[in-house]
Structure formats: C-alpha cells, structure tokens
C-alpha cells in the first residue's frame, strides 16, 4: 500500500461533511485518530479508514477564559477530550452546550467546527 489511507485533507473534507474518520491497522486491529504513518502499537503500515459514529462522552473539559489572539473574540469557550464510543479519544471544541452543564461523562456528538478558512473538531449535544 503506497497511498495513505487518509490524508489530513481528506480527513477534514469528510469532517466538513459531518463524518469523523479514524484508521484501523490491518495487522493488529489498533484504531487511531488522527491518522498516523505507522501503527503506534505494532509499527505496521496497513491502515484502512473507518467511519466513526461520532458519539462519545467527555473525559475531561476546561473553559478557556484567557485565549490566544485568534480566539480572543470567542472566549470564554469550552474544550473537551472526548472518548468516542469506538474507544479512541480526541480533543474538540464544545458547541451549543451551556458552560455550566459541562461534566465528565456527559454524552456528546461530533459536529464540525467550520470557520471561514478551515474545519476543525467540535462536539455538540448528543
């Protein structure tokens, strides 16, 4: 296999359409998100893309009140590490959940965070 299973460009194109994509190792079955060149578990290069269903729970969260310049206008905003149903975790921006309702264990669902020039990972109500 010489072509990557998924590139950053295709990951974010799919994310823009509402699909969260991981890769599964054909050699050992390890699931990874975001994609990597080698499997961190067995170092094989046999990835296949896997579409995740986007559901997960908050493993930890914070409310950013002092923000970098590019995000100052959106502060305060919440970030969460979300453990997805399939077992992998990823950091995302929390969207449309009141800050005082945030809790570890809260069920959330993937939602693309789309700005003028880019898409990134967000999570909204389940």
């Amino acid at each position: 296999m010489t072509e990557p299973a998924i590139t950053l460009r295709t990951f974010f194109e799919r994310a823009h359409e509402g699909q969260l994509t991981a890769v599964r190792c054909g050699a050992c079955g390890e699931l990874a998100i975001p994609p990597k060149e080698l499997c961190p578990a067995c170092h094989a290069h046999e990835w296949q893309p896997v579409q995740l269903n986007g559901e997960g729970t908050i493993a930890s969260f914070t409310v950013i009140r002092v923000a970098p310049r590019a995000h100052a206008a959106s502060a305060p905003y919440a970030l969460a590490v979300v453990k997805l149903k399939e077992g992998v975790s990823i950091l995302g921006r929390v969207i449309d959940i009141p800050l005082d309702k945030l809790a570890i264990g809260l069920r959330v669902r993937f939602r693309p965070l789309v700005s003028a020039d880019q898409t990134s990972v967000g999570f909204g109500p389940a």
Partner: protein
C-alpha cells in the same frame, strides 16, 4: 562513560527586563564561568535553550547569537527547543558529550524574553508548542492543557482546588527567600481561590507568570572538576517523550513521560525516590507540581494534592520541593528554566542556599516538562 560534574552556576533575576534574551544569557554565563573559575577560553561547546525568540525578538539562530553576545563567537553552538524543557535537554546533551570524552568543558544555558509583548501574544506563542493542525485551531492554551489534567485528577483522586492552592502558597513562601525570584511576597489560599479563572479549574494564581531571564551552568569532566572547590556530580540525566495529542493520553490524570524519564534516571543512578533530599520540579501550574510529585515516585498516584496540603513538600517537610520558589514564584523564562533548576540544586548540594537551604542535602533531582507534556527531562545530582 566518564563521570561528569557541574562546576559553575549563574542565574539572572527573573521578571521584567529591558534587555535581550542574549544579554540575559550572557550575564548568567559570565557569572557561571566566574563561579567555575574557568576562563571563557576553556569552553569547548555551548548548548543553548531558547523557545520563542523568533516570535518575541525576531531572532532565530539564537545559539550563535548568544555566544557572540557573550564573547565566545567561535565555540560550536547548538540551540535546543523542547518547549519549556529546552535548556534541560541542552544540559543532557552536554553531559553526554563530556561522558563520551568529546569535550572537557561545556557551557549550558538558556534565556527567554516575553514581557516585551502582550499577554494575548505570549499566550498564542506558547500555544505553538501544541499541535498546529489538531489542537491550536481549537484555541487550546498552556493553562488549558493543565486544566484538562487538573479536572481529570480531581475526578479520579478527589484532588481539590484548595490542595492546588496550597502548592502556590508554599512556592510563594519559598520565593520570599530567593532574591532572584520574580515574586518575593507571600500569598494565601484564600487569595488563590478568589483569583479569576484562566482555564477552569485553574485560576490566575495557580499559574506561573510570564518571565524574562537567563541561566547558565558549566559542565565539566571529572579531571577538570577535581580541580574545583566543590563539584556537584551528575548521577543521571534522562529524557522521555509522549504523544503531542491530548486525545492519545490513556489517563489524563498522569504524565507518562515524567514516569518514564524518572524511571530511567533512577536506574542510571542506582537510586530511588527515597534517596532524594531536595527537588526542583516543573510547577508551571499548581496541578503540574502535584502530578510531578506522583510521577517522580515521591508520593503514590493520587496522593500529591493531600501531601502538598499537609506541608510534606515545604522546606522542613518530608521532601522539600521547589525551595527556589519554583516556576510559580521564581518565574518561568521558558528557555532558561531547566538550567535555572539545575543551578538551584547545585547551590543546595553545595550548602550555599542561605535561608532556603535544605539541611544536609546530599542528593538532588531536577524535573523539567515541555509544553503539553510531550517532553520531560529528569536529572539527578550528588556531592562528594
């Protein structure tokens, strides 16, 4: 491998300076060379830590820049950048160069200047140490990383905001005793708890400050060190890394790179956590000190918060942590921090730390963490 020693240390006052980072390094380096009683002409290499020079000073190539400003422009120089652990990484490579027999005298140091830009700018530049594709676009900050760790630690172990505040209070109490510290005034638990949130649950007084400053140490072979009045031996210097992504961490309440670097350092030295008398560790945030004391094996996982609250990590406690005031009170010029921690431990092991001296300290440890916990350095030191 040859034995290696630290024979000279120098640190500027930390805080606001109207000087470039290279000038701050040069002051510290001159002091370190004088302390070592070796001429500048004896220096065979400079290993240098600097992180955001490109952003705050429009200066790359900061290694030779620093060497030129010091006045040793022809010495081979390399700049290390491992976020906040930069000059500790530089130190480890200097130790390896001397242990391997390549050089006999290597200067290690670092410096940073950030107080010439706004907090919003420095917050952004520091965030460059997290992943630019996956985490920076979300608005993640340094306090944000440790807030996520803090929340997980609170959930798993019952750690409280008051326990975290106890770390800040203790380090400020130590900072009062350090004339080089940025903050030399005590604070109370109540003041910490009432300070505004920066990234919940971390408040302003849970966070170390932005700082300007420089630090340097002179590292030497045993042959050179034997001629010095009071060499401090490097018993171990180990590094570990971890994934750049917070989502890859299996347990957010732990810092695996600290655990791995500590295990490697203890193995190199043939020592364990119970052998350590004094510790300078990376308290960029109060929770970072709690998690580091656990990762270094000073306390059981989950017990770090209670230990801080009971005073076990204070001067006079079971294991004094950050007698210098730590990053929290001494300040955190990120490129200089690792070298400054080493300078403090060397001073402690020489018995020259004055009012903040840990009585009878024979073995010391330094721990420096880079950015989002993806880099950790741990070194161990001992005296004759």
């Amino acid at each position: 491998m040859r034995r290696v020693a630290v024979i000279g240390v120098g640190v500027t006052k930390f805080g606001l300076h109207d000087r470039t980072s290279a000038e701050l390094f040069a002051e510290a380096a001159r002091e370190a060379l004088a302390d070592a009683a070796v001429p500048a002409s004896a220096v065979q290499a400079l290993y240098y830590g600097n992180v955001v020079g490109g952003e705050t000073e429009h200066q790359l190539h900061t290694g030779p820049q620093a060497a030129s400003v010091l006045g040793i422009p022809s010495v081979p120089t390399t700049r290390f950048e491992t976020a906040c652990a930069s000059s500790h990484a530089a130190f480890r490579h200097a130790v390896m160069e001397i242990a391997a027999g390549v050089s006999d005298v290597v200067l290690v140091g670092g410096a940073e200047r950030v107080l010439n830009v706004s907090t919003a700018e420095s917050t952004e530049y520091f965030a460059y140490a997290s992943d630019a594709v996956w985490e920076q676009p979300l608005g993640l900050t340094f306090p944000g990383v440790f807030a996520l760790i803090a929340r997980a630690h609170m959930e798993k172990h019952g750690t409280t905001e008051a326990q975290m505040a106890a770390v800040a209070v203790k380090n400020h109490r130590h900072g009062v005793l350090n004339p080089k510290a940025q903050f030399q005034k005590p604070i109370t638990v109540d003041q910490v708890l009432k300070s505004p949130y920066v990234a919940d649950p971390l408040k302003l007084l849970d966070c170390c400050p932005f700082s300007d400053g420089g630090a340097a140490v002179v590292v030497a072979s045993e042959e050179v060190a034997r001629r010095h009045r009071r060499p401090v031996w490097v018993l171990a210097s180990a590094a570990a890394s971890d994934s750049m992504l917070l989502g890859d961490k299996r347990d957010l309440a732990r810092v695996p790179a600290t655990e791995r670097a500590a295990a490697a350092a203890y193995r190199q030295a043939g020592l364990g956590p119970d052998d350590v008398d004094v510790v300078e560790l990376h308290d960029c945030f109060t929770i970072a000190e709690i998690v580091a004391t656990e990762g270094l094996g000073l306390f059981e996982p989950g017990a770090g918060g209670r230990a801080a609250e009971k005073g076990l990590t204070s001067l006079g406690g079971k294991i004094p942590v950050n007698p210098s005031g730590g990053l929290k009170a001494k300040g955190h010029p990120i490129g200089a921090t690792g070298a400054a921690q080493i300078a403090e431990i060397v001073t402690q092991l020489r018995g020259e730390a004055g009012p903040r001296q840990v009585d009878g300290a024979r073995t010391g440890l330094t721990h420096t963490l880079g950015g989002n916990t993806a880099t950790v350095l741990v070194s161990l030191f001992g005296r004759d």
